[in-house]
């Protein structure tokens, strides 16, 4: 399965037969219309978010909709920093995202090597447990987990979020898929040359799995950045809030400030949009890898 072909314009199955059809021009017109409607449906909420963030508050809800803000209220983007603790929340979120992403990639790829390239009794049973928990929604065991975290004093600390997200089965699963696609002859040859298992992991597998690590890192970073329920449960004190919790409390507090709410939303989405813009290929590959071979 070539996942990278997803992003390029690869040949599609039905094209040649379709192109020979006498109705081909008609199909093209219908296709473009469908594409435009779908694009509008996907984009409209984002367009609304950006446009409203630049309006005066009383211009957000008008009949008919005013699609071009006049005057353009850049001051919303200054005001929000004054009215909220956006800076603090962003810092907390960035800290969590970086630490969790690092741990997830490190322990996930390490474990994936054990599951993929080593043979020992109990390995398959253990992996089955990892896979099985993917079918168990977190919402089903968040209560006992909350109780355990409270018992050991993790509740209301950033450590709770790190523990919660850094050791997920997902990272192990994704990295294992990548390692499985690396021919066993490579590690075999390295073993004969006298490299030990840690050396094989470090010097052979890891460099070859860089696209996989990139996918995992980006998906983990984005997940952590966007997580809502985890911080809602575990982060009670204002000074450890993440951007999602902070933004939500801002929305509750200033629920009539429609323009500012959109400004905050744009700011919370912006870092993810930038990362996605630069590295979309790895997101797509990550999804396709875990999706198809699962």
């Amino acid at each position: 399965m070539t996942t990278s072909s997803l992003t390029s314009s690869s040949p599609s199955g039905s094209r040649t037969s379709l192109e020979r059809s006498p109705l081909y021009p008609l199909y093209r017109v219908i296709g473009y219309m469908a594409l435009i409607i779908a694009a509008a449906a996907v984009m409209l909420p984002f367009a609304w978010m950006i446009i409203s963030s630049l309006k005066m508050n009383n211009q957000v809800f008008t009949v008919p909709v005013q699609w071009i803000p006049d005057p353009v209220q850049w001051s919303n983007y200054i005001e929000i920093w004054q009215k909220s603790d956006m800076f603090l929340w962003t810092r907390n979120t960035l800290f969590l995202s970086v630490v969790i992403t690092f741990l997830q990639c490190l322990t996930g790829s390490f474990a994936a090597y054990g599951f993929s390239k080593m043979r020992f009794p109990g390995r398959d049973t253990l992996f089955l447990m990892y896979v099985a928990t993917i079918a168990v929604p977190w919402q089903a065991y968040m209560v006992p987990q909350f109780q355990i975290f409270t018992e050991i004093g993790l509740n209301n600390t950033l450590w709770a979020m790190i523990a919660l997200q850094a050791f997920g089965a997902f990272g192990v699963f994704l990295m294992r898929q990548y390692f499985e696609s690396i021919p066993p002859e490579l590690s075999e040859a390295a073993r004969v040359d006298g490299l030990n298992e840690y050396g094989i992991y470090r010097r052979i597998m890891l460099p070859l799995a860089i696209p996989g690590i990139a996918s995992l890192a980006l998906l983990t970073f984005v997940n952590t950045w966007n997580d809502f329920l985890g911080p809602l449960i575990y982060l009670r004190d204002r000074d450890i809030w993440t951007i999602q919790i902070g933004l939500n409390s801002f929305i509750d507090q200033y629920n009539a400030e429609h323009a500012l709410i959109m400004t905050g939303s744009v700011l919370s989405v912006l870092p993810i949009a930038l990362i996605f813009g630069f590295a979309q290929r790895y997101f797509v590959e990550g999804v396709a890898t875990t999706g198809l071979k699962g």
Binding site: G13, S17, V63, P121, Q145, N226, L247, S265
Partner: protein, 311 residues
């Protein structure tokens, strides 16, 4: 899994290396294997495995934040059956699932078929469609609340064809759930579209050519070639969509907070409300067992059905 990765076999013939007895080699190999898994497993055990096991104990106890657990037997479950808000949450979760699963599946597949063509702009749109899926749900809910408001864009568009309901969707008990479903389909379609796109590229082109030679119509080609070839993808998509639907929380909580009344109050919110807000750990766990069992049963049934068709 090939036998070629069998590390001990290789080590034993390795020249220069000490020829340890087979048992010692195997023990050593097991230790090294575990050392790779352990850092992740310690976290995984604490965060996932122990809580899952613990859940089955807690569900049979009366347990609040302050005080010791008291064993109850099945009392929590009998209480659940008679609990009106639990029944509502179960009904709403099913309502949500019944629409969210097929709508997302059809939208994702249609979009994937459309984007698997040679039209201009398709490459850009393939990635753009995925963006809602990685957008924070707080921002999504904030935007859509505005779009759904009484004077919002959606009512204005509907007004053009004379269908403006005149009320904000999230404030109306009959429109709130459709609103939630609409937003979740909007958000999830791009993700599942990617899975379908990847699946479509595994369909052998020669099959389409053969079908054309046999004079198959576009619909026949889809039904007899594309759809059967996509079955593994569809299986995976359905399982994921089902689990996602059963556990839905964030979006509903942020968009409607379960209301108006209890019109969008779902199972996951019931568990959150009882367990995290009201500290009724035991009772919440009983509700969680229901969610757990539903997810598991659905996955197993879908797995078995998939196996059966495969034969």
């Amino acid at each position: 899994m090939t036998m070629a990765t069998d590390a001990p076999a290789v080590r034993e013939v390795q020249p220069g290396g000490s020829r340890k007895p087979r048992n010692a080699m195997r023990r050593r190999n097991t230790l090294i294997g575990w050392s790779f898994i352990l850092p992740n497993f310690l976290g995984f055990g604490l965060v996932t495995l122990i809580p899952v096991v613990f859940l089955f104990y807690m569900a049979f106890t009366e347990w609040s934040a302050f005080g010791d657990p008291e064993f109850l037997g099945f009392d929590n479950f009998t209480r659940l059956i008679g609990d009106g808000s639990f029944q509502t949450s179960l009904g709403n979760t099913l309502y949500y699932s019944v629409f969210h699963i097929p709508l997302t599946l059809v939208a994702a597949l249609s979009l994937a078929m459309l984007l698997n063509t040679k039209l201009r702009g398709v490459a850009f749109f393939r990635t753009a469609a995925f963006f809602p899926y990685i957008t924070a749900v707080v921002a999504i809910a904030a935007v859509w609340s505005q779009l759904f408001s009484a004077d919002g864009v959606i009512n204005q568009i509907l007004g053009v064809v004379g269908l403006d309901p005149g009320v904000g969707w999230t404030a109306d008990s009959t429109l709130a759930m459709p609103a939630v479903i609409l937003v979740s389909v909007w958000r999830d379609t791009g993700f599942f579209m990617l899975l379908y796109l990847a699946g479509l590229q595994t369909v052998p082109r020669t099959l389409y050519e053969a079908a054309r030679v046999d004079g198959a119509s576009a619909w026949q080609r889809f039904w007899n070639v594309t759809w059967p070839c996509l079955r593994p993808t569809t299986f995976f998509v359905t399982v994921m969509l089902t689990i996602q639907s059963l556990k839905v929380f964030d979006l509903v909580f942020l968009l409607t907070a379960g209301g108006p009344g209890q019109s969008t109050f779902v199972l996951a919110q019931f568990i959150y409300q009882k367990g995290i807000v009201e500290f009724e750990y035991g009772y919440a766990s009983a509700g969680a067992i229901v969610l757990f069992s539903m997810s598991l049963v659905v996955t197993i049934v879908q797995f078995l059905v998939n196996k059966r068709i495969e034969r």
